[in-house]
Symmetry: C2
Subunit: 150 residues, 2 copies
Amino acid sequence: MLTRIDHIGIACRNLDETVAFYKATYGFEVFHEEVNEEQGVREAMLKINETSDGGASYLQLLEPTREDSAVGKWLAKNGEGVHHIAFGTADVDGDAEAIRGKGVRVLYDEPRIGSMGSRITFLHPKDCHGVLTELVTSAEPSADHSSAEH
Amino acid sequence: MLTRIDHIGIACRNLDETVAFYKATYGFEVFHEEVNEEQGVREAMLKINETSDGGASYLQLLEPTREDSAVGKWLAKNGEGVHHIAFGTADVDGDAEAIRGKGVRVLYDEPRIGSMGSRITFLHPKDCHGVLTELVTSAEPSADHSSAEH
């Protein structure tokens, strides 16, 4: 069951400049930063609020590390902007399977590794009224909080 | 101060069909539905989770009521997809003024009426790395919860 808006994924050309914009304009701070080579992105997670399911909602700022990555191609076509939305669930495997059974294309056979050790998959935007939609299960129930202590 | 992701605004061609997709695929229910003549939209709010500031996060599905509305023009150009993101604040007037002072264009001179009697304004996407960004103050501190009892 999807129990929260986990994050909004925003594609940008320059991660440091975009992080600086969000900090200067709204006061949002970087909670976590990493490079995901498989996804071909350098990313920063800005934590906005905690959620009633024990998780949190983030902005995920994404800079492609190579032009032929999914985000790189998207950015070349669309320019900077909202790339995807993500819902949090305790069971990405079960939810992805159930959604696949409803005829919505799930882009990965098995979930892959996302931000902060989460397990993620994506649903095809053409099956979701134009919205690239991610499903996320955090690395552990309290991952959002424990990682703040790193 | 912006304290939550209030909603993700998604433009769609047919509100009823899109509501049905979100219900059938994810189990999300309509929390509130209204027509905003000033904005030129018919909209449905799907409540996803509550937030640590006492508010909630929604998906806001938007169908234009006329082609020359902002959402109508956007849809004609971009097709269905994420139209804007919105941050919740207790003080949309003060935050909009502070952000204007930083050189970001605020689209309204004064906040206007948004979903469920909230007061809203928008920031120019070209000043926000491509993201049309809304600021929202709920009608009353507990508006999200009391309106569930209507």
